[in-house]
Amino acid sequence: MFDTFAEKKFLLKQLVKRDLTSKYKDSVLGIAWSFLNPLLIMIVFTAIFSMIFGRQIENYPVYFLSGRIIFDFFKSASTGAMKSIKGNANILKKIYIPKYMLAVSKVCYEFINFLISVVILFGVMLVTGAQFHLTALLAIIPIFFLVMLIFGIGLILAVCNTYFTDIGHLYNVFALILMYASALFYPMEIVPVTVQKLFTLNPIYSAISCFRECVVYGIFPNIYTLSYLAVFAITTLLIGIILFKMYDKKLALEL
């Protein structure tokens, strides 16, 4: 069962397809929502906050959107992975499938959504007349580490959430804190320097700032921030894999 790569690939493909089709089922605009959603949120935020921070931040919509899509990807992918085991309880109780595949499929599905929003970002950059930089290609590096981080956190949360249902609610609050600590819609300069140092410990902020540096500012990402993100991501992934392996066999009994 699921010994070969081809079988796993097909499973992954089907799971991602299932998520994609079920997301906009019965909605009139369908897949267009994937484009509209970040765009509308950007417009709302820009309308509200560009008044306050407009002077400090050049091209506010791009600044906001570049942070927002990274954070959205992180939040929805880790939440999806967290709920993947419990949400598929009826299948896991009846058929044997490798459980981590469910988490992997959620991350893949959210990654596709992320790619769509990257397209929006480029669209907004084009409309607002922002400059395109070659360093945008380097954005692959922080995104790669971000995906690792998401996998790690997703696996850890999936195990915890299977044992304790309220991890999900707790995580929502935690994600809100993370969002405010990520300098999504305000410039980093407005917070006190001591708090700024605290913010740099937030790996999501590291990912966002690296991404902005590559895409928006056209400079090579700060090597310290990037390496902090890399170390954090790899450690989390290792912990996630080990924890998941330890509990993999017991999870079915908890469903």
Binding site: I91, K93, I95, Y96, F164, I167, K250
Partner: protein
């Protein structure tokens, strides 16, 4: 009456776990543990057609009847069956010399051998005592014109091997061997011709398939002798060790934690940890140290009252649960039919669900594409295949699920109480499909509460109760015991 006694015995033994475990071994080991084989030193004469006898009896001194022993001489091998006295006759047809031979007898799955000795002396040194004519229980009255003939052709049980030899002896009315006569063997409408040797034996070399084989033989006769014919059966058994092991269950135990109020919120967890009364859950042993083996082509039915652990066993076998201790090793690909259509997405069309469910069952994409038409045809959904599954009736869903799950030709088929779904037409179709898979050599594990279905499909049954194997053996035997025990408990309840 016998059955009730048997069941009582089994229940008594339940207290004594070790005894109970011994009971679960398919072949009664004890029969051979203290088997005594007497193979006296024997001196025979060359060309003497006397027989060499070996006696077998068990520890209680009772002869072991109808069992096959293999006698291995350096150049020749006999597979012979003990008669009702536990006696075994080896026809001696050996040149002068000293012989040491092995007597191999099956002990459960293994063979054990002991040694015997035989000395064959030259015929010239034979004492002059005239050979006693054999005393036939001759009730025949000789016909003046033709001499009657008859065959010595025993029914046989033998264990399968590549080449099986079957001897029959042609004798005349005085029970004297007839030499050089032509015997026609007819097996499955094929005719084999063999001539009798100086001792009257004609040999048939043929590979017999496992199971009962009927051999017809005839002697056409001539001016002097009458025509004679007859038939015998050869039951070719397959030793367990010769069969391919498919499922090996070793000391399997499964425990479930059961709590009256399950701790699944963090708050409760923290509070309880602080109060240190977290350990409130009980453990329920669903399976308790179960061991058995299933071989290729076995069709095993699993019986048991509700909560006996049948479904848990199947779930462990299909990899859904991890056992608390012990192992299950399976060989070959498994098609678990635990619940049809598990994992169907109700918003998906039938077509999409075929692919989704196929992926869940670890099939490859190309494979599903290839089998797609077959699945649709088998499920009889027609144009409904393009409708979302939420519009399907439960029968339609089951049909589709069954069609998908059985597209792979599985080595092991695990079925949990699903054959009773669908209408009569579909039931007939699904049982046909099962039969064809079984013909292809699929090993079947079936959980069902329908005894008649188990009797129809299975050739071996395992009766589980409270997580232990109560009985493991031939279907009818186990089913009868199971049914009468069920009736027994009913009666008791009524009396109360």
């Amino acid at each position: 009456m016998k059955l009730i006694e048997k069941i009582k015995k089994y229940f008594k033994k339940e207290d004594n776990k070790k005894r109970a475990k011994q009971q679960s071994v398919p072949m009664p080991e004890s029969k051979y543990n203290n088997m005594i084989i007497l193979a006296p030193y024997k001196a025979a004469y060359e060309g003497d057609d006397s027989r060499f006898y070996i006696y077998t009896f068990g520890e209680n001194g009772e002869p072991i009847t109808d069992e096959i022993l293999t006698i291995i001489f350096p150049d020749e091998k006999y597979e012979l069956q003990t008669d009702w006295k536990g006696m075994l006759r080896i026809p001696i047809n050996l040149p002068v010399g000293k012989y040491v031979f092995d007597i191999v007898f099956p002990n459960g799955d293994y063979s054990q051998s002991i040694e015997g000795n035989l000395i064959v002396k030259a015929a010239s040194s034979k004492p002059t005592s005239p050979k006693k004519p054999k005393k036939p229980k001759s009730t025949h009255s000789k016909k003046p014109s033709k001499i009657s003939t008859n065959f010595y052709a025993p029914n046989m049980k033998m264990y399968s091997k590549k080449q099986t030899q079957y001897y029959i002896m042609l004798r005349d009315g005085n029970y004297d061997a007839m030499q050089g006569e032509e015997i026609r063997f007819i097996v499955d409408d094929e005719v084999y011709i063999s001539k009798t040797d100086e001792k009257g034996f004609a040999r048939l070399d043929k590979e017999f398939p496992p199971g009962k084989n009927i051999i017809k033989y005839e002697y056409l006769g001539n001016e002097k002798y009458e025509k004679s014919e007859g038939e015998s059966t050869i039951n070719v058994l397959v030793r367990n060790e010769d069969k391919e092991l498919m499922i090996d269950v070793e000391h399997l135990s499964m425990e479930f934690k059961v709590t009256k109020d399950k701790i699944d919120t963090l708050k409760e967890f923290i509070i309880r940890t602080a109060k240190r009364n977290k350990e409130e859950h009980e453990k329920i042993k669903v399976l308790d140290d179960i061991s058995f083996k299933v071989y290729k082509g076995d069709r095993v039915g699993i019986l048991g009252f509700n909560g006996a652990g049948k479904s848990t066993l199947l779930k462990i076998m299909s990899g859904i649960y991890e056992p608390t201790s012990g192992t299950i090793t399976t060989y070959g690909n498994i098609a678990p039919l635990l619940e049809l259509g598990a994992g169907f997405d109700k918003n998906y069309t039938g077509k999409n669900n075929i692919f989704l469910n196929g992926a869940f069952l670890s099939m490859k994409e190309d494979f599903i594409k290839e089998k797609y038409d077959e699945i649709v045809e088998f499920s009889e959904l027609g144009e409904f295949i393009d409708y979302p599954i939420k519009n399907y009736s439960s029968g339609m869903k089951s049909k589709l699920g069954f069609a998908i799950a059985t597209t792979i030709n599985p080595d092991i088929l695990i079925i949990d109480e699903i054959l009773s779904v669908g209408d009569i037409k579909f039931r007939k179709k699904s049982s046909e499909k099962l039969n064809s898979m079984m013909k292809d050599g699929a090993t079947v594990l079936l959980v069902s509460h329908s005894i008649s279905q188990i009797r129809k499909i299975c050739d071996r049954c395992i009766w589980l109760q409270d997580g232990q194997i109560i009985m493991d053996g031939e279907t009818n035997e186990v089913c009868n015991a199971y049914v009468s025990s069920a009736n027994g408990t009913n009666i008791k309840k009524r009396r109360k």
